[in-house]
Amino acid sequence: MSLFWIPILLLIGTLVPKATEGLGRNVCTAITMLAPAVSLSIIASFAPAIFAGDVITDYIEWIPAIGLTLSMRLNGLALLFAFLILGIGLLVIFYARYYLSSKEPVGRFYGFLILFMTAMLSIVLANNLLQLWMAWEITSISSFLLIGFWSAKSESRKGARMALTVTGAGGLALLAGFLLIGDIVGTYDIGVIVDSANTIREHSLYPVVLVLVLIGAFTKSAQFPFHFWLPHAMAAPTPVSAYLHSATMVKAGIFLLALLYPVLAGTELWFLLVSLAGLATFLLGAYVAMFKHDLKGVLAYSTISHLGLITLLLGLNTELAAVVALFHIMNHAVFKASLFMAAGIIDHETGTRDMRELSGLWRFMPYTATLTMVSALSMAGIPLFNGFLSKEMFFAETLEQAVFGSLSWMVPIFATVGGVLSVAYSLRFIQDVFFKGEPEALPKTPKEPPILMMLPIALLAVLCILVGVFPGFMAGDLLAISASTLFPASSLPYYSLSIWHGLNIPLLMSVIAIVGGVVLYINRHPLYRFQFQFNDPDAKLIFEQAMQKLVLYAQKMHNTLDNESLQRYVGLLFLLVIVMTAPPLIMLNNAAGSSPLQSVNGIEIILAAILCIGAIATAILHKQRMTALIAISVVGLVVSITFARFSAPDLALTQLAVEIVTVILLMLALFFLPQKTSADSAPKRVVRDLSIAAVIGGIVATINYAIITRPFETISDFFVENSKTGGGGTNVVNVILVDFRGFDTMGEITVLGIAALGIFKLLTRIPLAMPSANERGIPWTKDIHPPILVMISQSLLPLALLVSAYIFVRGHNMPGGGFIAGLVTSVALIQQYIAHGVKWVTPRIPVNYQSVIAWGVLLAVLTGVGSWAFGKPFLTSWFDYFDIPFIGKTELASALVFDLGVYLTVVGATLLILANLGKLTTEHRPTMEEK
């Protein structure tokens, strides 16, 4: 049976609860437990092989490009964790069935829980670092969901976010660490990595790797200084805390440390960092736990403390310490899970978790109390309970180690202090809750919970005792086989699991711890007084504030960068052009190239002067918009003369036609815009803009000059040579447009068509205010359609149409073509609109311009498609000469049809724009409902 079945099974199990929610809670719980149970049995079925020393692996190729192979490995360490995860998981599911109130969506809860379980199990089974990381992050995510389960509560949300942020940050560091390891070793396969441990440790990036990995592990395991998220994660429902924050998620970090122990450990740096963090966490957690009034708060800090203890063990430079660490992992999971569940019962039955309100529950819930006390004593490290064993071994190891060189002697002292504290808070837990007077003012009258709710606790408590009494029998093999994975190269160091090792210093330390703890508890009040002088820093508050500050800072930065002013955007665009093009231009020694310059005559100088004056006048007069418009018309006119001057008649025609249409358009729009504006730019801005403009102008002029004074080789000769023979036209420009580069033209008319549609769209239901008088306050004349104008316009129309036909027909051989013809037609029709008005013209031209556009483009495209019938590529032109009687040799060309498409598009587009713009003030204005 493949190991992959385990996560797959669980993944399916994720969906089951939601599906079976309707069947009732018991059924749902039972079915939910099925997947973990089956998984557990699968794992168990592998257990004998593992105990026999085998390692079961299994893999599927996934993404070779990034070295991610789905690869599973079940070895001793994984087995230990798998048992913990699935075993305690099952108990928690069972427990949650009673814990959650009937209103709460148990299906969702179970779904999240199983998801988490899947992820956790995937971590321990992963044999590929990237795969492990994937699972690692999913634990963060699913724990986010679980912590935030009671999403209506602010503290849940904040706690969840904090946990996600901290573990997420750690996760990212971890990813970086893993990727580095992958880089160093060349693979992410953990087996190989373990084998090449020396390569890593000797690599120059080893410190970086180590720090990154440790950040990952420490955040997850709530090690100092990343411990602060854990207490706030207590906002989660208690089963979640029992599961995530005792047995599993926080242990993921520890697991990682254990997993990479053979790879990364063994260096000074490792011992220093790990033990320091562990020690600090151990003491800090234990100390703070003393002062927490919330039951879960106590447990949370105690968890932190114990995690610190385990980390410390892993950081001690004795081999046995790592073994002890594993042992304590087991023990801690067992007693802490049961304690959390017990706290949940107390909360559930009394309505509060505040130890200042709780007291004397012994009388109301003796069974619960008994079970709780078993676990709590285990936590305190009292003999006969499992906690004692690992704690005493821990004391022993602190004596053996030499991490801090000559300061190492302090470690046992600190360890003992920690022990004292943990005894004290455990005692407090027992004493304050179950004894010490009568309960008063509780929200609910306490009573025993349902017997089945206590079952998980009972099981765990029994386990505490059993392990505590028969450690070798209960846990020996498992510990041995799991510990052996930490020492792949060598055999396990010698150790013995037993209650009694004789009178020795560790025993003394234990005794000191217990006695000291009792004493401390009895005299706790002075300590409280001392402690409460300090303002208890609320990590949540600080964290939230920090986040808020971060957001505010980001917003401030954002607002400074982006003032939502187009002027800045455009200015930056131009500046970037300057910055990027100026340096190479500076490298250009001489702008002038080698071509001989052409001479200038007076006409050209005058035209150039007009052009420049017109351009500058437009810029200066832009506030008097009408005048500026006239000035820009001049520029357009001279530009088209320039085109004519430099042998481009087609361009001259097009430029002219386009310019006129544009100006008409601008006038139409100007009617709805302010005609004049006052100065609105600060002088500083004007100067700045002028400088930008001047530099850009200079750059463009320089480039232009540099280009046109240099000879070059071009592909154009081909067009000239093939225009007649290959394209069937003598106007090379037109042949390029409709044939050589007809595809461009097709795109171009598409643009025109879309623009027209878009403009129509813009005009639809436009809410416009119209000026009733011009900018001088003179009301508009009442002579809307001067008769003389009407008369002339209508006699001009046939002429204009004829001219446009002429221009169209000759386009292929002479200057002209569909586009210009289209514009001429449009202008002629626009002239009719101007003369007669929309009301008169619209019913007389019963044409849907939108369809004209569509047909125009379609015609052009279909002409292109037509060449497929002859097995030629799109837009392959066809032309031939026919000898028609009386007429003589006549040319027919597909390009003409293409050009007709262009013509139609231009007419349709221009009129769709202009005519509709004119309609705005009439009842023909575009609306959604029309047609």
Binding site: L175, V751, L757, V861, M928
Partner: protein
């Protein structure tokens, strides 16, 4: 028909879009016809692009000489693995957006579906063409279509955003033409492959001019791609657009990125002599800054659409970084990441819309508001989307991120790229956690009132289509990365288009 495969992705949406303007598809009450036709067109487009990919995988890059004029004289379409992939992506995104719009967006104004098709045409054209001026034309097609789509639905915010967007892009187009002119004026050709041959033979002043032209091209493409400091238009524009439009826009920045990859790999790539990789010193800092600014934007965002828009920025920066790292491996990583980031950005825009619809006046702003009507559905969708976008496993984002991170080879690159991307990821997580908890977990009162409509089936279909792509991309990451690796190899082999296009003088 198979011979004409490379041009079909351009012609199908074009002809389709035109037909949609004519009876029996035109007219306000015939929207059902339009919808059916539009969906059909998108499916056809996808089918074609799959066929194209299959052919390209089979036979290597193919070219299509429009008008039967050979390179470098005619316009050549050049479909290599990269282009085919992006065409497919475009079609897929188009389908999802179209389906999503059936929920009602398409009826909020005229011409939605036709212009959508034109938009697709412009984008695919830009991906397929191998001619600089034709690229300009297709840029304009896609731009004008995007202008029109952006105002779809009306409203102050859209108009305002459009003003900025249009003006900036018009200036951009002007610069594009100057750049084109400069390059034509020095090399005498417009074909990209041909230009790559000519560029290495330039010397003296011509070389400098070509460099200037190239730099201007970078500015233009940077503007389309929203590279810093030309990114300002993006957040406002994208968050103003209606959801399906914004979703489709997710690919628009990729057009800019694609052009950068194409032009600065083929023309100004390793074989451009003195001009080799001249833009790298610029792209490095700008890419990193783009990510940083995008991240700041994500943190500062007041609503979900803004976050989505800023994640687009981050992805742009990331892709540019991948470009700056250079080499086929980085390019391959970039292509995978581009696929992923495009899809997920689209999802976020759609989700923001769906969530907003159910939150009353607050829409998708991060304030206390009504509870959404369908918390489970939207919550689940959002949650997955958020995981994908920040790059958490097991979705495509994780793989996308890892491939990019892995591709940074040298020490300094690595430090820069890694720290930028990872820190940005963390901050994005923070922002999205904040967003999610506010949108779904903090609410005033219940959603019991009837005015809140629940999400339309079409919306769910559209979003799901895109969202499912992420796990699919993750599951089939093996073959996909293999494909992108091929695409990258083809892109970096500058001689390949020269030989495919049968250009003369490829040897010296």
């Amino acid at each position: 028909m198979m011979d004409h495969l490379p041009i079909l992705p351009i012609l199908v949406p074009l002809i389709g879009g035109l037909l949609l303007l004519l009876p029996p598809f035109a007219g306000i009450e015939r929207y059902v016809n339009r919808r059916v036709a539009a969906a059909f067109l998108c499916l056809l487009q996808i089918a074609i692009s799959i066929a194209l990919m299959a052919k390209v995988i089979d036979a290597g890059p193919i070219m299509y000489a429009v008008g039967n004029w050979q390179a470098p004289f005619g316009i050549i379409l050049y479909a290599d693995s990269l282009a085919a992939l992006l065409v497919f992506l475009t079609g897929f995104l188009g389908l999802a957006s179209t389906l999503y719009s059936f929920a009602g967006t398409d009826r909020e104004g005229r011409y939605f579906h036709p212009v959508m098709q034109f938009q697709l045409m412009g984008i695919t054209g830009a991906f397929l063409t191998h001619d600089l001026f034709n690229l300009f034309v297709f840029f304009e097609v896609l731009l004008i279509a995007s202008y029109v789509l952006l105002v779809h639905g009306g409203g102050k915010q859209r108009t305002q955003a459009n003003v900025h967007y249009v003006i900036l892009n018009l200036v951009g187009s002007a610069i594009f033409l100057i750049a084109l002119g400069t390059l034509y004026g020095t090399t005498g050709t417009l074909n990209i492959a041909d230009m790559s041959l000519k560029i290495s033979t330039l010397s003296g002043g011509e070389q400098v001019l070509a460099k200037v032209g190239g730099m201007m091209l970078l500015v233009v493409f940077g503007l389309k791609a929203a590279m810093l400091p030309l990114h300002f238009w993006l957040p406002n524009t994208y968050s103003a657009a209606s959801a399906p439009v914004a979703a489709l826009f997710a690919i628009m920045t990729k057009v800019g990125i694609y052009s950068i990859f194409r032009v600065f790999t083929v023309i100004f790539g390793d074989e451009a002599g003195a001009l080799s990789n001249m833009v790298l010193p610029w792209i490095w800092p700008l890419a990193i800054l783009t990510v940083i600014v995008g991240t700041i934007g994500v943190l500062a965002s007041p609503n979900l659409r803004n976050i989505a828009a800023n994640t687009v920025l981050i992805s742009v920066g990331t892709l540019l970084m991948a470009f700056a790292i250079r080499g086929p491996e980085a390019s391959a990583a970039a292509f995978y990441y581009a696929l992923h980031s495009t899809l997920i950005s689209a999802v976020l825009f759609m989700l923001a819309d769906m969530i907003g619809q159910q939150r009353g006046k607050a829409f998708d702003r991060f304030v206390i508001a009504k509870k959404v009507t369908q918390p489970a559905l939207l919550g689940a969708l959002f949650f997955v989307a958020a995981m994908v976008v920040v790059g958490l496993p097991p979705f495509s984002g994780f793989i996308g991120k890892v491939v990019i991170l892995q591709s940074a080879a040298s020490g300094l690159d690595k430090a820069l790229v890694w720290s930028t991307i990872l820190i940005s990821t963390l901050l994005t997580i923070i922002a999205l956690a904040r967003a999610g908890t506010t949108l779904f977990w903090r609410h005033a009162g219940d959603s019991s009132n009837s005015e809140n409509e629940s999400a339309s089936v079409w919306q769910v279909v559209g979003v799901t289509l895109l969202l499912v792509a992420s796990p699919v991309m993750a599951i089939f990451a093996g073959p996909i990365t293999e494909y992108t690796a091929t695409a990258a190899t083809q892109l970096h082999d500058v001689r390949l288009p020269v030989s495919v296009l049968q250009l003369q003088g490829g040897s010296q």
